[in-house]
């Protein structure tokens, strides 16, 4: 009996993925034909709360409001336009096959399942690939200025892990343009009264009544006031937890609080150890650095990655002859070359730097060199494709990439793990949904480039508006618990106590100090490479640091006005608890897959070695009352369409 089957027998929570029956390509259509509908005139009787206004949240809120539901949308930003989806650079995949290079829905589906190292749920991925086509149509209709060819038709480029050109882009600001498109559609509904917008409002707790999601408690960041909000359904589109590492490409405010508070109320947290370390970021320059900056993967279309062959190399890049350079991605993965997937490219860079071949003042990067592309295409073409990225690099690194190769190194970028959801994107708490990066479902153990934007918009535009109706239909005219229900009052009181608690500690160290220290532990032991010994060490160091946090934290100011130190304290508290779960999950998964690389489980040439007999499952953790005592539940992954195979990009 495999480990997966043994674990299945021990599940404490019934995990029904609700995958529709039928052939893979028919499942989503079957679902849509069979689902329950809410009559257009009855939709206004239902209220849906959407937390987060990134791609998933804004598109879900706008679409639900267009359908006629009452929507209350919450963002901790000053405006719905700020969410970190905005920082995505390279593009969005769509299986349009406009290039006639053999792309299809099936191929995008296949690439995504394989790219995720066979740890995603096939049915969800197929639906994602189907929706990718509609997303491009929808965004163009909204006026997103995608790049075009001279004939006026849409242009495409390639991304890692694919051998076709299916990535649509708007210069190096695709995320910005897509988010602004969704934000505009969202804003239209705010203007029409379909959406009530609560800005500078942070979710502090989820309220569950009689086993169903009943609403949320939020903190007004300007006044510190805690208020309750009830609804028939709650959508969390609150992003990922990459800031657990402290240094990451995430925005400063990105945090896990919404998902974590849902977890503590009973929602399972799936695959927390699946984190993506993006290969092309600007290396850390000093210890006071607050964040790392991504350089779009699209740069690998024309940039060549290399390191000098001599560890003692001191010459500037252009003086190093070809014979003394190692274009290691082209050498190791000839068929994908510089476009090898992210996890593979990241580990290859780490190996080069660990061997002492790193470049730059701290020898902590590898070169990404555009001189061949500039010679072949001319500076103008390169400038048109990547001009704004080159400018950004120059502002941060102080070097001009037209003359000197960029220096890059991997950094935490995206988290594939997240709240466990079924095919309808509902968590195991009825009425509580998770969309976009906040859920776990589509990318398995590694996400391919240009797929995050696709998933956020697929969930928000083309999945939730259907699946939420299926949940709401039977609830018509049934009473809904109001905010005067004792559960809301209890959640408000707990939240008040929590924030008063941070202020009362009166220790000596700021929340940022603890975040930085926590991030170092997680990066060292649960980062690009993990070992049993290291994870054990992390699991003794994190709780010790957490105890210190609880005793020695200092938060100044008060809880009745804008207090960013207090906000940060709450977020760091939740990162501590999540950090323990990430390490527990990484320790428990005794195999390597995608972004989860356990040094003990590798092939002779250093690639990830999966154990399909024992780990072809989703690890969904239940809150056990103590962050060190989570309870494991599993969902078995069946592969009907794509056969389990060793992932090769050679």
């Amino acid at each position: 009996m495999s480990l997966t089957d043994q674990l299945l027998a021990q599940n404490t929570v019934q995990l029904d993925s609700k995958i529709p029956a039928g052939a893979m390509a028919d499942k989503w259509n079957t679902y849509k034909s069979d689902m329950k509908l809410v009559n257009p005139n009855n939709k206004r009787k239902f209220k849906v709360i959407v937390v987060g206004t990134g791609l998933a949240g804004a598109s879900a809120a706008a679409t639900l409001a267009e359908l006629g539901y009452q929507v209350d949308a919450f963002t901790f930003h000053d405006s719905a336009r700020r969410a970190h989806s905005i920082a995505a650079q390279g593009g969005i995949n769509g299986a349009k096959n406009y290039k006639g290079d053999g792309d299809s829905i099936h191929r995008l589906f296949y690439d995504t399942v394989k790219g995720g190292d066979f740890r995603a749920r096939e049915a969800n991925v197929h639906r994602l690939a189907e929706n990718s086509v509609d997303i491009i149509d929808q965004m163009v209709a909204q006026g997103v200025p995608f790049a075009r060819e001279y004939g006026g038709l849409l242009d495409n480029r390639s991304f890692g892990g694919a051998q076709v050109s299916r990535t649509f882009y708007a210069r190096g600001q695709t995320g910005q343009q897509l988010l602004l498109g969704a934000y505009q559609q969202f804003s239209r509904q705010v203007g029409l009264g379909g959406i009530r917008l609560f800005n500078r409002s942070e979710l502090i707790d989820i309220v569950v009544v009689d086993g169903r999601a009943a609403g949320i408690v939020v903190r007004d960041l300007v006044t510190g006031e805690l208020t309750s909000h009830s609804a028939h359904a709650v959508v969390l589109a609150t992003g990922g937890y990459g800031n657990a590492f402290f240094l990451s490409t995430n925005a400063m405010a990105c945090n896990v609080t919404a998902a974590w508070r849902a977890h503590r109320k009973g929602a399972l947290f799936a695959n927390p150890c699946y984190t993506q370390i993006h290969p092309t970021c600007i290396p850390q320059s000093d210890d006071s650095q607050s964040k790392l900056t991504l350089m779009s993967e699209s740069l690998r279309n024309d940039g060549r990655v290399w390191v000098p062959t001599n560890p003692d190399e001191t010459r500037p890049a252009h003086e190093i002859p070809e014979s003394e350079r190692d274009y290691y991605l082209e050498r190791l993965y000839p068929s994908f070359g510089n476009l090898a997937p992210r996890d593979i490219s990241s580990r290859a860079a780490k190996r080069a730097v660990d061997k002492g071949l790193g470049v730059g003042p701290k020898k902590n990067g590898v070169y990404l060199d555009f001189s061949d592309a500039i010679n072949r295409l001319g500076r103008e073409v390169v400038e048109e494709r990547y001009g704004n990225l080159f400018e950004m690099y120059e502002r941060i690194a102080g070097e001009n990439p037209y003359d000197t190769p960029m220096r890059i190194y991997p950094a935490s970028h995206y988290t594939m793990g997240g709240l466990w959801v079924d095919y309808e994107l509902m968590t195991n708490i009825p009425g509580l949904y998770a969309a976009g990066e906040a859920n776990f479902s589509d990318h398995g153990a590694n996400r391919l480039g240009a797929s995050a934007l696709m998933q956020g918009l697929s969930d928000g535009y083309f999945v939730l508006p259907y699946t939420i109706g299926n949940y709401l239909a039977p609830m018509l005219n049934k009473p809904m618990p109001g905010t005067d229900h004792p559960e809301f009052k209890a959640a408000e009181a707990a939240a008040k106590e929590r924030f008063a608690g941070y202020l009362a500690i009166g220790g000596t160290k700021s929340p940022d100090f603890f975040h930085r220290e926590l991030g170092k532990i997680i990066w060292d032991y649960c980062g690009m490479e993990r070992t049993e010994q290291g994870l054990e060490k992390a699991l003794s160091e994190i709780p010790a640091l957490y105890e210190e946090f609880k005793k020695d934290l200092r938060v100044t100011g008060d809880s009745e006005s804008m207090n960013q130190t207090l906000e940060k304290a709450g977020r760091v508290d939740d990162f501590f608890q999540l950090g323990m779960l990430m390490c527990k999950d990484a320790l428990d998964r005794k195999e390597s897959c995608g972004g989860h690389f356990r040094a003990e489980y590798q092939t002779d040439d250093g690639e990830a070695l999966r154990d399909d007999d024992n780990y072809c499952h989703v690890s969904a953790w239940q809150w056990g009352g103590d962050p060190m005592k989570p309870v494991l539940n599993v969902e078995k992954l069946d592969f009907e369409e794509v056969h389990l195979a060793t992932r090769s990009y050679k």
Binding site: E66, G152, L153, L154, L180, Q184, S510, D512, S561
Partner: protein, 258 residues
């Protein structure tokens, strides 16, 4: 190679709330690497303040990649500081030198009421977008994306103005506190595209009139273009004016008909 910059004096605006009296507070940064960003310098200062038991300086910031538009700051009287085409979060200390004294203030405009210290409320921008800064294309039923070819120069021009990050530097830099560059950038983005034609004149009319409810009037100083971190050209304002004038004529025709 990194260098250390010594002895920076910061004069920072502190104000507990919109009704409280504001004042400048002086802090010294004895040394900092020139690789640090301007906001990292403020992080270091805030960490010091918290450790000393004092309240941290409140300022808006998020992505630190110059794209989300959350950061603001008047640095020595210039919106986003001395480097052209650069948001505050992308400004690095290598642009400063030993012994510099730097004055940091919030955006100052009556349409952007102060919240605390360096943070202001820019919601008036959202009101402009809500009034018409979109193309009505409800989810579902969009035609194939390649059905309408768009000439590359048109798509590129639309993209040039669509790059606006909504930071508010244009308003802060304007002696009149006008939001014409922000509003016109969105009008130009959408009105240039074939998809935007159906609502072209209603869009410009509602957006301009909402803008006028909140913001001052444009008198062509051009400070907005100079302060814009995305270097959006003031030409978009001419395009907005042209469409607004046409919209007014079109509406009179509609009135005569009714």
């Amino acid at each position: 190679m990194s260098n250390t910059i010594k002895n920076i004096t910061l004069k920072i605006w502190r104000q507990a709330g919109p009704a409280a009296k504001g004042y400048f507070e002086t802090h010294n940064i004895p040394e900092i690497t020139d690789e640090a960003s301007f906001l990292e310098m403020l992080d270091i200062l805030n960490d010091r303040l918290v450790t000393e038991g004092k309240e941290a300086v409140v300022f808006d910031h998020d992505c630190r990649e110059g794209i989300c538009g959350t950061c603001s700051l008047m640095i020595d009287g210039q919106a986003h500081g001395p480097q052209r085409g650069t948001a505050t979060c992308q400004l690095h200390m290598r642009k400063f030198k030993d012994g510099d004294s730097i004055t940091i203030e919030p955006w100052r405009a009556s349409a952007f009421p102060l919240i605390k210290d360096l943070m202001v409320d820019r919601s008036a921008f959202d009101r402009i977008i809500e009034s018409g800064g979109y193309i009505t294309a409800e989810t579902g039923g969009a035609p194939d994306a390649n059905l309408i070819p768009i000439a590359k120069p048109i798509a590129d021009a639309a993209m040039d103005s669509a790059e606006c990050i909504g930071c508010g530097a244009c308003v802060a830099a304007c002696p009149n506190g006008a939001a014409n560059l922000f509003t016109a950038a969105k009008v130009a983005h959408l009105n240039r595209l074939p998809q935007g034609q159906a609502e072209r004149y209603s869009r410009v009319e509602t957006m301009v009139e909402t803008m006028d409810e909140h913001f001052g009037s444009c008198t062509n100083h051009g400070e907005c273009e100079a302060a814009c971190p995305k270097e959006i050209s003031i030409d978009v304002i001419a395009l907005m004016h042209k469409d607004y004038r046409k919209a007014k004529f079109a509406n009179r025709k509609d009135l005569a008909r009714s």
